[in-house]
Amino acid sequence: MKKATVIFCIVFAITLGLSGAVMAKGSVKVGIVLPTTGSLAKFGEIERDAFLMAQEEINAAGGINGLKLELLIEDTTGRPEVGRSVVEKLITKDKVVMIGGGYSSSVTYATAGVCQQNNMPFLVNTGSADKITTSGWTWIYRLNPPVSKYASAVESLLTQVIKPKTVAILHENSLFGTKGAKKFDKTCKKLGFKVVLKEGYEHGGIDFKPVLTRVKQKNPDIVYMISYIMDASLLMKQAKELKLTPKMFIGGAAGFTMPEFKENAGVASNYVISATLWHQVLPFPGAMEFYKKFKARFNKSVDYHGAEAYAACYVIADVLKRAKSFKNTDIKAALDATDMMTVFGPVKFTTWGKMKNQNKAATYVVQWIDGKLELVWPKEHATKQFQYPIDWLKVWGY
């Protein structure tokens, strides 16, 4: 009798679990993988909100040829191995037709492997390691530029305006930071700038003064930093404390464009420039409206991360509308044929250099001027004149 009860319980539990897999009718399911908990949750939440906003708009406008677009947003917790099992679950249990999202290089890289193996179309919108589109994978498409191209607008600014002789590079020890620093190091050598110091650090340190002191001793013309928000603010605050005054401080996207950077670094954030992938003033249809709508709804300003997610959702909808059926090969064909305009700019997946299915997106330079993130480069889109040269000690109130 007791045994029977136990067996019944097991069977019941299994059927309960399996019943979750029953598909809802009248909708098309797309899996979105984002870190909504864990240390990267900040970025994941922004992208989730942008995805949900786009989903609502798309469904209000008729959905996917009459079917509802259903986004299954799954939490990767920012860990690659969790990301892999999440994707596996989306493919095998939820039977999604394609996958989107992908924040942080390492998680995206690891999950893209699963998608490639399962012939599952995956539209990456933020994960930026070059490897994601240079591994020869055919099922992986990327909306955002690879990390090696993040600094291309900065490059032209450097060669045309600042013309530095010496460069110091600081980066966090992550896939994004290490690769970005390596690439920038190469670029500097190519352009004839001398790299006097290149140093990685563990995320989450309190005291960056030892390394900043060394930077100060080398007296470089520019300091290039690839950091997430809190490290970015501490680096600038401590540079201020040490009176470290290069010609320019440059951030390599990520932390330096977030509103939190300004809030935490305070006066030390003034006139710092950063590479970025998007700005609301860019002449893309809907960019400004998206920015305003997001701000009104979530009461926070949105940077390139949100724009990428929002645009990705529209690309996904467009692809699914055009696809002959929801079979993976048909979706792939539709992805290949993508040629559309989004808030993030034109989107088209092509093969160039070592890259496969990579969208060519432009990059820009922004500068914190009077507490606002202004687009300063390239000149034709600029909202404010690029502030240079700068008397840092005066800016910092010494």
Partner: protein, 291 residues
């Protein structure tokens, strides 16, 4: 030369805060002989108290010491009384049950913080957060200097308490030989409760002092728990002077490592020292200084 001096100065200043974290740990380890794996998490709680005080009531972080320290004393005493002391009576195979219990407590504290405050980074901004005084070319961060001063003050206070008061003497007696102390009429379970409370209050002070300089998120504790171990082992169990010296040695070693070996290896310096001390100087600096 400036690089070297600046490195040493930064190391000593950060060492002051490390010492504060270490003192609480060394006291708990010395008296109860258990590793408190929730030490950093207790600090995190204190930091959130400071954050709430500053953010909602606009109280200066340093004034929050008056709230955070008593609050953490009570929390620490509560943990010891209701969760750790009862374990002594529970029969189990592993003697490390109390240690494993602190792992669970740490997880619960972290997750409760995440529930209330989310994973967002929080900071307390003050007008003096990144102000610095210059002596020659060397920069001294003001909040770090203040923290250093507080660290010295609290150590002196603790030292006086342990040497001159009855309660302090009872704590030292329990640390030396808890059975003998019990025979002498000391209520050792009460002593452990008080000690855990004092240890928690001290790490709370460290958290409050760190707040103007650093930032805060629920997972911040773990890294500091590890630092506290290194300091405790370096200084010797139960040695307050050892903890101060250990904290400063760790701060300076990390700074030197960051400057001359590489920023990426900074954390490793501490662990290497830790293992070296465990092997070559078991008992820590206490063995050299005898206090």
């Amino acid at each position: 030369m400036d690089v070297f001096i600046q490195t040493i100065v930064s190391g000593i200043l950060i060492g002051g805060i490390y010492s504060m974290i270490g003192i609480g740990m060394t006291l708990i380890m010395g008296v109860m002989g258990i590793i408190n794996l929730a030490h950093g998490q207790l600090m995190m709680v204190a930091m959130y108290i400071t954050f709430v005080m500053a953010h909602f009531f606009h109280v200066d972080p340093y004034l929050s010491l008056l709230v955070a320290m008593p609050a953490l004393f009570l929390l620490g005493a509560f943990i010891q009384k209701t969760l750790l002391n009862p374990l002594i009576k529970v029969e189990s195979i592993l003697p490390e049950n109390q240690v494993l219990m602190t792992v669970g407590i740490g997880m619960v504290l972290t997750e409760i913080a995440r529930f209330i405050f989310s994973s967002d980074y929080k900071t307390v901004k003050t007008s003096y957060s990144s102000s610095a005084i210059f002596i020659g070319k060397i920069s001294f961060n003001v909040p770090m200097c203040i923290a250093f001063g507080f660290a010295l003050f609290f150590t002196a206070l603790l030292f006086w308490f342990l040497l001159k008061t009855d309660l302090g003497r009872s704590i030292r007696a329990t640390a030396q030989d808890s059975e003998a102390a019990t025979l002498m009429g000391i209520n050792s379970s009460r002593i452990t409760v008080i000690t855990f409370g004092i240890g928690s209050a001290l790490v709370a002070a460290a958290g409050v002092l760190l707040m103007p300089i650093f930032y805060l998120f629920p997972d911040i504790g773990g890294a500091f728990t590890l630092k506290a171990f290194v300091i405790t082992i370096l200084g010797g169990l139960g040695s307050t002077v050892g903890a101060i010296v250990g904290g400063i040695v760790l701060g300076v070693a990390e700074s030197l490592g960051a400057t001359y070996i590489g920023m990426g290896y900074k954390e490793m310096v501490g662990f290497v020292i830790f293992v070296l001390v465990l092997i070559f100087l078991p008992g820590g600096l206490k063995r050299l200084t005898k206090i």
